[in-house]
Structure formats: C-alpha cells, structure tokens
Amino acid sequence: MPFIPHTQDDIRDMLTAIGADSIDTLFDEIPAGLRCSGLPAIPEGLSEMAVNRLMQQRAAQDGQPLCFIGAGAYEHHIPAAVWEITTRGEFYSAYTPYQAEASQGTLQLIYEYQTMMCGLTGMEVSNASLYDGASALAEAVLMAVRANRKSKSARILVPAAVHPYYRQVAHNIVKGQGIALETVPFCTEAGTTLVESLQKYEGEDITALVIPQPNFFGCLEAVDALTDWAYAQGALAIAVVNPLALALLKPPGEWGAEGVDICVGDGQPLGSPLSSGGPYFGIMCCKQAHVRQMPGRIVGRTVDLEDRPGFALTLQPREQHIRRSKATSNICTNQGLLVTAATIHMALLGPEGLQRAAAASHGNTAALVNAVSGIEGVEVMFSTPAFHEVVLRLPKKAGEVLAAMAKNNVLGGYDLSREYPEMGEAILVCATETKTPEDIEHYAASLREALS
C-alpha cells in the first residue's frame, strides 16, 4: 500500500472507534449498484526502482536534439540554484497561502515577484500569475471588456502577428461572452502591424487593441504609435510581451504617451524549462486604476498585531471563492511554483544578467541569419529588426526540410505553412544565448544539407 501508513492494528482500532466492521462499510451510502468492481485496465503498481527505470528509458528515448525552435517556448540557461530551491518541500508541497501567518515564505516571495514584474514591465501592479501566456491574453481581453466602461462593443483588435495559438486560445475562452476578436493583418514586407492598417477602425467603438512585442515573427513592433492609437480611440492597450526581451526593450508601461493598460505574456523565459510546453506561467500587470478588475491572486504587504510587516493575500473579493458568479475570473489554482522559480531566477540574473541573456540571444540569432545567408534560396522574410526570432523563406517544402534536419538531430525551426499558408514555405527560427558558434555553424551545415 504505497504511501499509506496504516498498520493492521491501526485499521482495527480505528474501525472500532468509528463503530464500523470494515472499511467497506464506510462506503455504505453509495448506492450498491454504482459501486465499481475493479479497474482491470490499470496495470499493477510498480516499485520506485521499476518506475525509475521506465522513466529513464522514456526520457532518453526522445534524444536531446539541438533545438532552434522558439515560437513561444525558449531554451535558456536556468541557474542550478533555481530549481534546487524551488523544489524544497516548503515551497513545493505547500498550497495557496490561505493561512498567511504560516505562509510568509510564499507570500513574501510573491510580493517580491510582483515588484520584479512591475520593474520589468514598467507597470504599477502585477498579479501572482495566470496559467500561461495564451490564457493570460484571454483574461486580459475579458478584463479589458470590464475595465473599459466607455466601450460597449466588446470588440477587440488582435494583430495576426500575435502567436496563432494565443489567438486561438483567447477566442476559445472569450467567445461564450459574445466578445469579438478581430484580426488585424500584418505588413508582408515589414512583418509588423502598421498603424495604417488600423485606420479603418477609427471612430468606431473599439474596446481594446492587443500589441505584441516582439511579435510572433520575432519582429519589433512600433509600440509607441500603436499604443497612442489605442488611447486616441478610447480603446485600452493590451501588451503581449516576452518578458526577457524587456531587459532590452522599452517596457509597456512607457509605450506611447500613457503606457499600456494591461500587460500579459508568458513567463517561461524566466526560469521555466521547456518541459514539453508546461507548466509555464502567465504574467499579468496593469495600471493601478484597473486593479479591481484584475483576475488572479494578489499579495499585499500589511502589519501584524505587533506592527511588524507581513504579507497576505488581498483584494480577495474579486475572486471566485468570494464573488462566485460575479468574480473577475474562475481561476483558483495558478502557477505558483513557476513564479517561485522565476523570482529566484530573476534575482540571480539581476538587471545586468537578464540584459546579457537577452543581448546574447539577439546576437546569436543575428549570427544565425549571417550563417545561413549564403545558402541558396534561403532568405530572411521580413525587414524589421527582430529580437531573437526570424522567419526564413526556404526554397523547398518547409516540412520536408525540417524533417531532414530532425533526422540529423537538429530541430530547425517552426513550420509556418500551416498557420500562415500565405507565406509559402517559411520557418520561424530562434537561437538563444544557449547556442555556441559551433551550434550555429552546425545549424547552417544541417540546413544546407537538407536543402541539397
């Protein structure tokens, strides 16, 4: 009986105390006809040793290919200390800090996290995390509809240059409430969202404009102009950012004249391993004015009976356990442990370290572009400067090229042809600071081979 401490004596004595003659008796309120007779399709239990061996094999089976895919999930160096501390039982096996006095570790850490996220984004408040970047965008849309009291339309403009999966998720989550996400095309030369393409909405009731930075193609948007446009229309501005990029880029709180209203993104580049896509965590920051419309947990600093500072969950009346059907969101469990890792990660890298990691990623992607530039038929598709991802146009079927590179244990990029068929054969490629000059050469050689 793995993980069950009861001895035969315990069982007998406890049943006697209860006044039941068997454990089965305790289930006597379940209608007999419903009782389950067994679970034949579940295999027998294994010892930890056997599971160990199984999982070692499974983990090894997929190899450790050299990965140049980004597209929303980025390989970065994570200091060893991050997960060694994060997986300490006291962080790892605690829950939501409902009993503040017994959870000051987690609470202070979240307060520090909120401060760091405000510092990084230039925003006034941060919550304690949402699920991931995509669902955070959905929450931001819902929040914008609540927060923009002047707008009645529930129309949200979303550039096509926002991650396609983010757009899908946002649509899937908000559609029940009759919210319309309208796609704004990108400039096929620049790879960015032009203010001109928004002109047709001028004078209309637009609830919010979503602004990616960098956008899905890695390109840097003209965020000031986009933000100002939104402000001028009475629409809220929602930034979708890569938080690592903000070490180099103007933070959303400073975009345009007023800064954005809401900033979301995926926190993965801040200490979450790739891990097949999750768990990551959704970032959400906003202007102080909107804090009561913000979903998710928030930690505040207060004092105790003896006037010592301490930390507690606050503004809980926004949340589902108090406000129920009128809550700002249904979110309850969030991504706490990833926030723990991110906080330690950011504290270890510091401003200078984060800048270096970002700059090295930027530099490596530039080096990669350089390395493949001589390959016949391979072209950088967009003219706008990029952060650490670029779109390459290929002279052959992207899927086949990538499959050939994968045989060589190089994951050459993300095939854009499915989500953006209009682009033709194109891939999205990323080289973070983890890539050495040799890796980049190896990439170029492998691409060349796949094309030949």
């Binding site: 793995p2 305790l26 067994g38 399709a41 600093r301 809550a327 969101s329 969030n334 442990l337 700059a359």
Partner: protein
C-alpha cells in the same frame, strides 16, 4: 537585555547593491544589441535586485523555512487533498530528457513523452469510467471551463440554442458559478437540504428547456456522498441538460465508484489533488477532462492518439496499449473538427502530467482502490473522535467521505470563538488549519480533509490540539483571539492590506 533578538527580515531588494551580481549566471560577454532601434530600447532601469548568488540562495532558503507544507506539517485543508507528494514523481519528471523537450518538437522526437501521456489518458479513462480524456486544462477551474464549453458545444451542434443556464448547488465551490459566467451562462443555485443532499424538489423546479446542465461534485463539498445521484441525473437528463462532475473530490471515491457509472457526461479531475502532484504554493495544477461518448468530438485539443504498427486505425481504449508498440501522434482540429479548441499555448501543464503519470504507475490498480479507502477511514475516524470530544459535526448521522465539516456555531455563541481563531491557534500547535468558511452555508465551519497518507498518531494529536484550544478559549478567549504566537509574524491585518494597498516595494520611504 532582549533575550530573543529579532533577526532582520529583508526583502531581496533590500539586499540589493548597485553593481553586485551573480557573475556565473549570465554569459560572460554579451554583444551590444545594436540591431535594436534606439526608439524601441529600454532606457529606464530594469528594476530587478542586484545580489550575489549566495545572497539569493540564502534569502530564498530562509524564506522557504517560513512556510508550512506537507513535507513539514499536517495540512488538512479540506477540498484540497494535501497528501504526500512522492519525491520520485518530481525527480523523474525533471530528468533532462523531459525538461529539455520543446513542445513543438516533431513526433519522431517525442515518442517517449507521448507514450506517458497516452497511457495517462488510458489510466484516467479507466479510473473515471469515461470514454475519452483530454489532458490539456491547466487546473481544475480550466477543466470546468472545458466541461461547460463542451456542454455548450454539444447543445449548439444539435441546434439547441436556448440552453444558457447552469445549475449549481449552493454548496458548490466558487469556481463552478464563476466558470458558468466565463462561458456566458447564467448560474442557478439549487439549495441543499438539512442532510447535506441536494434539494431534489427544488432541482425539479429549476430544470427546463433553458437548462444547459448541472455542475456537481460527489461526494459534495459538504463531505457527504450525494445519495440521490441517480435521481438527479434523471431529472437533468430528462430536461435535456447534461451533467458535469467536478472532480476535486475524486480522492474520496477512487476505485469505489466512477463518475462515468454515476451517469456524468463530462468531468474534470484535479490531478494536483487526487494524483498527488505538488501544490507548489498555489500551483501548477492540472484539470484533465473526461467525457462520455457523446461528448468525444468536442474534447479540447491536443490529445495523444495511437496509430498501431500496421498503420491507420486509431487505437481504442484498452490497457494492452500500455505495452503497445504503435506510433503516438497528436490529434488536433483536423482529427476533432468539433473540438472546443486549444485552451493553452501548447498541451497544458505537461510536467504536472508526467508527475501524475508516475504516481499512477507507482500506485497501480490496487493502490488506486486504497487511496479512497484510507482517505475515508482517516476522515471518519477523525470525525468520530472530534465528535466524542464534544465538537459538532455539520451533518450528523452521515458518513464522512474523505472530508467532513465541524461547525463552531455553538462555540461562537458561547465564547466568541471563531473558525479563524481556531485556525490561527492550530498553527501554534504545529498543524496547518483546515479550510475555513467554506462551504459558505455552514456557519463557522472547518472543512477537514486528513488524506490517506497521514498516520493515526497525527490524527490523534490533532484532536488533542483542538480540545486544548477549546479549553484555552474557555479559560481566556482573548489570548486565543490573539493567536498565533509562534509564527514568523503575529496575526496579520487583512483589512489594512486591502485598504492601504501595498502591492509592490517602492523603496524605503
């Protein structure tokens, strides 16, 4: 002389000094990011602390020690299933091969991972009695969203467009009505009778052609098994609604009774509860959903499918696949054109799912049965012992499921002793408090869930502490009201926290 001097408790920002760094943690050289146009560049400081590696390690190690957690304390938080999180689940899910896998890696480089996910789907199908499972929802509440969205999609696909009401018992968790709202539905509350069961007459009144479905958890959040479940299903189904099972309490019935056999159309499971993935100080969780046959087409994507060796046919659910040698592939909107779609950028909280899978393999078939048995034994024992020592159980005469409710209504009236007071004082005795003030309909309630991994000695010690606190309250209620005394801080001022919002550090004024 101050015998017990306070040690300063600084924020990491207060450790910060300009120019300090953890040098090993970033590239030793970094290029000028000259490719970035000046107007897009950051000019303001990045706003992170500057600290040495040791500062950071020491700061967060010490912070961690200020938490209660399963690894250090009994944590009987009702409705949260705070059981032991086997360490191997964590260690093995963090093998470099798993951590390094990109979510968009080709299937050729994903078979090991996908095998685990496929098998987890199979295990969850068996244990819930459902026809299909999608692992993608990232917590219980997102599982609920997926469930209600599938119910909506089902009605919509049949052209049945007026079904906009979701029925929810008044004892339900807040996520249920909040989810209904998020889906654009109206919530209709169904009262609970004095035995803790749903008021079936009221339900009968409430259903109609506007009914999309009902959200139930069974055993309910009142800690009792809903005995009229058959009748409830009949009423809802006959009215054309579907029934949703909130799996937060699945631990109570694992291997004993299956939601599918109870007639539910769709369920979510909280793998961070029943399958013991760590709660992480608030997450991550996983809210995998299971569906009956008629909802299969609507499952959120992606789902892992198995193509058998001979190619072609999608495998049906059978455990023999746990040793199959087919090829796993991702099923998406091309395979499930009626899907409610993607709910996360990739495939949900994969790392959490790996942990749940490992846990399931460790438990195996027999282990699954025993979870519910011993969770229930512990809850009933604890309930009976507290009752014997004078505490009032909310629903007398009922069996406890894996949890039960104590109400301090009498103590409140007699002594002004509240659930909060008891909760805070329990901390001084080394116990995390049970869930308090939930469900909302029981006054001064403590929802107590000991879980199967706690020993009898711990339960006995908890009973003793409860009795002592009551005695203390009789002797000196004011001192109990000022608890805790042994935590890093005394009782915190929540009102001030909400009134004078201090949500980030802005320097020492």
């Amino acid at each position: 002389m101050n015998l017990k001097p306070e040690k300063p408790n600084q924020l990491i920002f207060e450790h910060s000094r300009a120019g300090r760094r953890a040098y090993a943690q970033a590239p030793l050289q970094a290029p000028e990011a000259s490719g970035i146009p000046a107007e897009l560049r950051r000019s303001s400081p990045v706003g992170l602390p500057e600290a040495s590696e040791m500062d950071v390690v020491r700061h967060y190690t010490r912070l961690s020690q200020k938490n209660f957690s399963i690894d250090t304390h009994f944590y009987p938080l009702g409705s949260c299933t705070m059981k032991y999180n086997p360490r191997a689940c964590n260690t093995l899910a963090m093998l470099p091969g798993f951590l390094g896998r990109h979510p968009l890696a080709p299937e050729t480089h994903s078979q090991g991972f996908m095998a685990c996910m496929f098998e987890l789907q199979e295990i969850l199908k068996e244990v819930t009695g459902m026809a299909g499972v999608s692992l993608t929802p990232m917590a219980g509440a997102q599982g609920e969203f997926a469930g209600v969205a599938m119910i909506q999609a089902y009605h919509a696909a049949r052209g049945d467009t007026q079904r906009t009401e979701i029925l929810v018992p008044d004892a339900a968790h807040g996520t249920n009505p909040a989810t209904a709202t998020q889906c654009g539905c109206k919530t209709v509350e169904i009262p609970t009778n004095d035995q803790g069961d749903v008021d079936v007459e009221a339900l009968r009144q409430a259903v109609g052609p506007q009914t999309a479905g009902i959200m139930l958890t069974n055993p309910s959040t009142l800690g009792v098994f809903e005995r009229q479940i058959g009748e409830i299903q009949k009423i809802v189904h006959e009215a054309g609604g579907l029934s949703y099972y909130d799996g937060a309490n699945l631990n109570a019935i694992l291997g004993k009774v299956r939601p599918g056999d109870m007639g539910f159309d769709v369920i979510h499971m909280n793998l961070h509860k029943t399958f013991s993935t760590p709660h992480g100080g608030g997450g991550p969780g996983s809210g995998a959903v299971g569906v009956s046959k008629r909802l299969l087409p609507f499952m959120p994507i992606p789902v892992v499918g198995l193509t058998d060796d001979r190619g072609g046919a999608e495998a049906t659910s059978h455990i023999s696949h746990l040793t199959s040698h087919g090829i796993y592939r991702w099923l998406d909107e091309q395979d499930l054109p009626q899907t409610i779609g993607r709910l996360s950028a990739f495939a949900g909280n994969a790392g959490v799912l790996l942990r749940a899978y490992i846990y399931a393999r460790l438990l195996g078939r027999e282990g699954m049965h025993r979870v519910a048995e011993f969770a229930t034994l512990n809850a009933n024992y604890l309930m009976v012992e507290l009752q014997k020592r004078g505490f009032d159980v909310a629903y007398k005469g009922r069996r406890a499921s894996h949890e039960f409710i104590i109400t301090l209504k009498r103590q409140k009236q007699a002594l002004e002793l509240t659930a909060t007071d008891v909760a805070k004082r329990l901390l001084d005795y080394g116990f995390h408090a049970p869930t308090i003030y939930f469900p909302l309909l029981v006054p001064e309630c403590l929802l107590i869930e000991p879980t199967e991994t706690e020993s009898r000695e711990t339960l006995d010690a908890f009973v003793d502490a409860m009795v002592t606190i009551w005695d203390e309250a009789k002797a000196d209620i004011e001192q109990v009201k000022a608890a805790p005394y042994t935590m890093p801080v005394r009782r915190l001022d929540d009102v001030r926290a909400a009134r004078e919002l201090d949500l980030r550090w802005q320097g020492n004024e």
